[in-house]
């Protein structure tokens, strides 16, 4: 009996939505927009967290030494005001310490780069001490030797002229392994300094989130005119296997009180804090989208209840219960939510591709990363939006009174 009543009420709901197509479509569009917004913005949040998390992991450092609490983060290139100085000496001194397996200074610096003189793009230049052994080349090789041009601070050692680019930089500059590229901190410096692309590696760009060209640190400092202070954005430290990383952190902090030493997890938290504005904005927009969807569904169904108040009052006069009328309204909400969720998910798939293509063209690829669970979340949000809207509209149904709404 209950099943029969439920089926019949759902049938009435479907007939109502078929009859009031424009209103129904409007409500479905509202839900779909909420779903698309939730999916895309959650994807942005997931991407931000994933880049920070896997990026910090990919760098492979146990400790991060920087000049300030927010010296850099993915996407925030340079951070000139928080650079540490005498980077080669600092990294060499750290590397000599007990329980430290290796240390390398890394500088992030915006540079002009191009395959031809005069045709430059702005990308991220990454300078590093060491021989580049940690860079995994997907094509070609990593650096053949260390940062020999530094020559104990004289900057008069031989220049290797080697460069690693990531796939996006290679694509953007139109170069491949073996090609020559011009790199400089200024257009004039770029005209005067050429490098050979020895390999393609995506390791650093995954952390930075932008196209990169990796040079030896001293050579990047040379082409950007900063050899006088030997700057770096960070010194990455790897500890010996089994070493007490916290103890090394404390020792380094004591030796370099002006610098900040973070563990891997602390660095990730730092990255996360830098992304908090993006995540908070995305969350706010998602909440607003859901609120708008609920409002629209409530409005559409509420107007339908108001429009049909006399018919509903007549049905109540005939003994039809509020519960049955509520089932009809809730069923309308469920149908609107389900269809809206399906449409939203269908639109979100190409929408995400479009956003990634558009933002990727600006040098920030895969800004939206939406795994399957994000779509499931979007679908659930659509259903909830429909049901919540229907519950609010259903409350109006319970207020329909045969005495008040039928003419006397």
């Amino acid at each position: 009996m209950i099943g029969s009543r439920l089926r019949a009420a759902v049938g009435v709901a479907l007939a109502q939505l078929r009859h009031y197509r424009v209103r129904g479509t409007l409500a479905v569009v509202g839900v779909a927009l909420a779903v698309v917004t939730v999916v895309v913005l959650t994807g942005v949040g997931v991407s931000a967290l994933t880049v920070g998390d896997t990026g910090v992991d990919r760098i492979g450092a146990d400790l991060w030494v920087t000049a300030g609490p927010s010296s850099f983060a993915p996407g925030a290139v340079g951070s000139v005001e928080n650079q540490l100085f005498d980077a080669h000496e600092v990294s060499r001194d750290v590397e000599r310490r007990e329980n430290v397996r290796g240390a390398r200074a890394v500088l992030f610096q915006t540079v002009y780069a191009g395959a031809d003189r005069g045709d430059y793009r702005t990308i991220v230049g990454v300078g590093t001490t060491g021989d580049g052994e940690r860079f995994e080349a997907v094509e070609g090789r990593s650096f053949a030797e260390g940062d020999v041009h530094y020559a104990d601070g004289g900057y008069d050692g031989p220049t290797t002229g080697e460069a690693l680019v990531d796939e996006r930089a290679a694509d953007r500059l139109g170069v491949e392994v073996g090609d020559t590229i011009h790199v400089g901190g200024t257009l004039v410096a770029a005209d005067e300094n050429s490098f050979t692309v020895v390999g393609v590696s995506n390791d650093v760009s995954r952390f930075i989130g932008a196209p990169t060209v990796v040079l030896h640190l001293s050579e990047l400092q040379e082409v950007s005119g900063s050899t006088g202070v030997d700057p770096a954005s960070t010194v990455l430290v790897r500890t010996e296997t089994g070493a007490d990383t916290r103890r090394v952190q404390r020792e380094l902090s004591a030796t370099y009180p002006e610098l900040t030493v973070r563990t891997r997890s602390e660095q990730f938290e730092s990255v996360l804090r830098r992304q908090s504005a993006v995540i908070a904005s995305a969350l706010t927009l998602a909440v607003l989208a859901v609120g708008s969807g609920v409002t629209l569904v409530t409005n559409v169904l509420g107007l339908l209840v108001y429009h049909q108040r006399r018919q509903l009052a007549a049905l109540r006069a005939g003994g039809v219960s509020v519960r049955t009328l509520l089932i009809v309204t809730l069923s309308e909400g469920v149908v609107i939510g389900t269809v809206g969720a399906a449409v939203g998910i269908l639109v979100a798939v190409p929408g995400i591709r479009g956003v990634n293509l558009a933002v990727g063209a600006l040098g920030f690829p895969n800004v939206v990363d939406a795994p399957r669970w994000v779509f499931v979340l979007g679908g659930a949000v659509g259903l909830v939006v429909g049901v919540v809207g229907a519950v609010v509209a259903g409350w109006r149904t319970t207020r329909v009174s045969p005495i008040e709404h039928l003419p006397r």
């Binding site: 209950i2 009435v12 009859h19 006399r310 006069a317 005939g318 003994g319 039809v320 219960s321 003419p407």
Partner: protein, 246 residues
């Protein structure tokens, strides 16, 4: 006070009070009556000490000027509302003793209501509109369909089963509304100005239909239309909230 003919059915037909479909005893209905210690002084007495009974098979015409209390009395008779004083017994149950839900159940089982403006859901076919109250009774789809089709055949709309209200004339809509009022096989049918929106010829058809309905159930029709009163077997006139014999 004014039950000039307090119990015509019983007097005329000699039926016992317990046989009455409806029994009203000194029924009054006052709107705006304060239930607390504040009295806003805006009370309107729509009905005053009305007593009457309606027996099975009676066709009662209720007439009176606008504002005389016809609709209020119909609401009380159909258990849509309860009196502020006195008692209405519908099939032996005092409606003021029943909760809102119990009165709704009583209406669902025993009362059919026809409105001046039909109040059909525009999104549903004639057949679906007629079958709607049966959903509440938990009747299965096939039986709902059969019952609705049978009633629409009876009111002459066998060829309009799938038409929506927007595709029907005023008279056809009212016939659908009458079929809907009969779908639960009620003991009592009340109709409020059922010909008010219709032209003369169509109104006559509706009156014939209501007359036929009254063959095996009680019918109370409130109307300004003198034809309604002529068609009814018994006439009651409401004047300033009081019933007088027509």
């Amino acid at each position: 006070m004014s039950n000039v003919e307090p119990d015509r059915g019983r007097v005329a037909d000699g039926r016992a009070e317990s046989e009455a479909v409806i029994q009203c005893d000194s029924v009054s209905r006052v709107y705006g009556r304060s239930s607390g210690w504040l009295d806003d002084g805006n009370e309107v007495e729509a009905l005053s000490e009305v007593s009457l009974s309606v027996t099975p098979g009676e066709f009662v015409g209720l007439t009176g000027a606008s504002g005389s209390g016809k609709t209020t009395l119909l609401h009380l008779l159909a258990a849509l509302d309860t009196p502020t004083d006195g008692h209405v017994r519908l099939l032996g149950s005092a409606t003021d003793d029943l909760s809102s839900g119990e009165r709704a159940a009583l209406r669902l089982d025993h009362v059919g209501i026809v409105f001046q403006r039909f109040h059909l859901l525009p999104s549903l076919s004639a057949r679906a509109n007629v079958a709607l109250p049966l959903i509440e009774l938990g009747v299965g789809k096939r039986r709902r369909r059969e019952r609705a089709e049978s009633l629409l055949e009876e009111v002459g709309l066998g060829d309009r089963l799938t038409h929506r209200p927007g595709q029907l004339s005023g008279g056809e809509k009212q016939r659908v509304a009458i079929a809907r009022a009969l779908v639960n096989d009620p003991t009592l049918v009340v109709a409020d100005e059922p010909t008010g929106e219709l032209d003369t010829a169509t109104g006559d058809t509706i009156l014939e239909l209501l007359g036929a309905v009254a063959d095996d159930r009680s019918v109370v029709v409130a109307s300004h239309d003198p034809r309604v009163v002529e068609a009814a077997g018994r006439r009651l006139v409401l004047r300033d909230g009081e019933v007088t014999d027509g």
